[in-house]
Amino acid sequence: MKRQWRERTERMAAELLEVPKDTLEHVPRITMIGNLQIVIDNYRSILTFEGTTVRIALAKGEVAIRGERLVLKVIVPEQIVIEGIIFGVDFTPA
């Protein structure tokens, strides 16, 4: 209850002050460069990893990247960089 209230207030404040949503910490930021590279900030963990699919757990829900010859170029805390030929990005809400 308390957490929900906190989240609601944060979102309300962000909308009121027109703060970009990615400044809220627990929201992932996903940047794509063409269909060649995808950078995901604020990820939680990697669920599966194959050459054709990468499923990444986010704070809420998960994201699945479909493609070909996918490579996890860099994995550091807070950021993950995937390269390859990307076909699609599917979100699954929690």
Partner: protein, 435 residues
């Protein structure tokens, strides 16, 4: 850190074994790719990986990616994670996280294999095993150091007498092959050269590495100072005046006039009583008598070209023959010896190396005819007279006054008539000018 590498490289732990077919490389080709994409991270990250070293590992039989998840959970940075067939994958990680990888793998049923190793720690480890290579590197540094402590090149510019500058530089230990540590700093060298060379107005010295560049600005010669002190021109020798050229002052003699020594030729005291610095040229005919003795026979030694060399080491004045002991059957010899002091670095030892060359000589006896001997005598007399004169002088006539052959010699007296400048300056005492 390095201790860990060593163990790792020797393969002293369970499943983690390097495949020996992989050779050490500085960095895998393409890993540092400045032009392409490097995973969205700055290049410096990858360069820091080079300094600390990184390894490429293959994890097999891990369908649920437990190792990968565990490493991510431990916040271990990973690079270039490739998926393989048969539930395997490859990843690159920093050397300091290798033990975490091994620990994590042991907790699962996955198999770990190290494929490749990159970076400086491995290069150093490998170099440390090659003793001769290390010795070569050390030798190279030592040789470079030794060679760079010499002066290799001295360049002198801006003077038409570089030899004089080079000699002065040599006294300051600046010459090709000299030691750099003996050389003072630029400014001191500059000051010393300015003191040593009076004909220069400025000198610039630049010591750059093993080269010394010297730039000279020569002094422009000044116009000779104008003399103002009053003086007369008087006769230095008695003679008959041939011509008078008075630049300053009043000529008191005429051509054809005989003047005894000390006669005022050009006066510095003008008719109105003013005194000037008399100057000019008074040429006169002067007579000389020369007495000569010439031998009728002369013996001249010529060298045949063959010689023997004897080498001596002179210790405290005592020569000890060390090389060349032959005694040639020369009837006439001429000996030339050359001494070189023996030095050790800069220290002069009390030793002298003496090279003695004994040349074979051949005497030539010449018997002179009286006519040619008289000619020789006249020639010698003229040379002797002119040698004692300064400035322009010309022999006008010569006469043999007396000659006598006695005791194998020709005794003769020669009379030589010379046209010469007899004027010499004599200062005027300033008292008459005041009156």
């Amino acid at each position: 850190m390095l201790g860990q590498n060593r163990m790792l490289c020797r393969g002293e732990f369970g499943a983690a074994v390097f495949e020996k077919r992989h050779s050490i490389r500085f960095w895998r080709a393409g890993a540092i790719d400045f032009s392409g994409q490097i995973g969205g991270l700055p290049v410096t990250v990858r360069i820091s990986e080079f300094w600390s070293g990184s390894v490429r590992a293959r994890i097999m039989r891990d369908p649920n990616r437990k190792v990968l998840s565990a490493l991510i959970a431990r916040e271990v940075p990973l690079y270039d994670v490739h998926s393989l067939e048969d539930h395997g994958y490859e990843l690159t990680l920093n050397l300091r996280h290798v033990w975490e990888l091994i620990t994590v793998t042991r907790e699962t049923s996955a198999k770990l294999r190290f494929l490749d190793k990159f970076g400086l720690p491995f290069v150093l480890w490998r170099a440390g095993r090659r003793k001769v290579f290390l010795a070569g590197a050390a030798f190279f540094v030592a040789v470079l150091y030794v060679l760079s402590s010499f002066i290799w090149h001295v360049q002198i510019a801006g003077t038409d007498q570089p030899e004089a500058v080079a000699t002065a530089l040599e006294k300051l230990h600046i010459y090709p092959g000299g030691l750099l540590y003996k050389v003072l700093d630029q400014d001191s060298v500059q000051m010393a050269l300015l003191d040593a060379l009076p004909d220069i107005s400025w000198i610039g010295v630049r010591i750059s590495g093993t080269s010394v560049y010297v730039r000279v600005i020569p002094r422009t010669p000044l116009a000779p100072p104008v003399h103002t002190d009053p003086q007369n021109i008087v006769a230095a020798d008695p003679g008959v005046v041939a011509n008078v050229l008075a630049d300053h002052g009043q000529a008191l003699v005429k051509p054809g006039q005989f003047v005894p020594q000390g006669t005022v030729l050009i006066s510095g005291i003008l008719e109105d009583g003013k005194t000037v610095h008399a100057d000019g040229q008074v040429r006169a005919i002067v007579w000389y008598r020369t007495d000569l003795t010439l031998p009728l026979q002369t013996v001249v030694d010529t060298l045949t070209g063959s010689y023997v060399q004897h080498d001596y080491l002179v210790i405290g004045g005592l020569p000890i023959q060390v090389w060349g002991f032959s005694h040639p059957p020369y009837k006439y010899t001429e000996v030339q010896s050359h001494d070189t002091p023996v030095t050790l670095g800069d220290v002069k030892l009390p030793l002298v190396w003496r090279v003695e060359k004994v040349y074979e000589a051949r005497p030539h006896k010449t018997v002179w005819a009286l006519k040619s001997l008289i000619d020789r005598g006249l020639h010698f007399a003229a040379k002797d007279v002119l040698a004692g004169l300064s400035g322009e002088a010309k022999v006008l006539r010569q006469n043999v006054l007396q000659r006598k052959v006695e005791h194998g010699n020709l005794y003769m007296t020669v009379w030589t008539e010379v046209l010469q400048d007899i004027g010499t300056p004599q200062p005027i005492a300033s008292e008459p000018a005041k009156q």
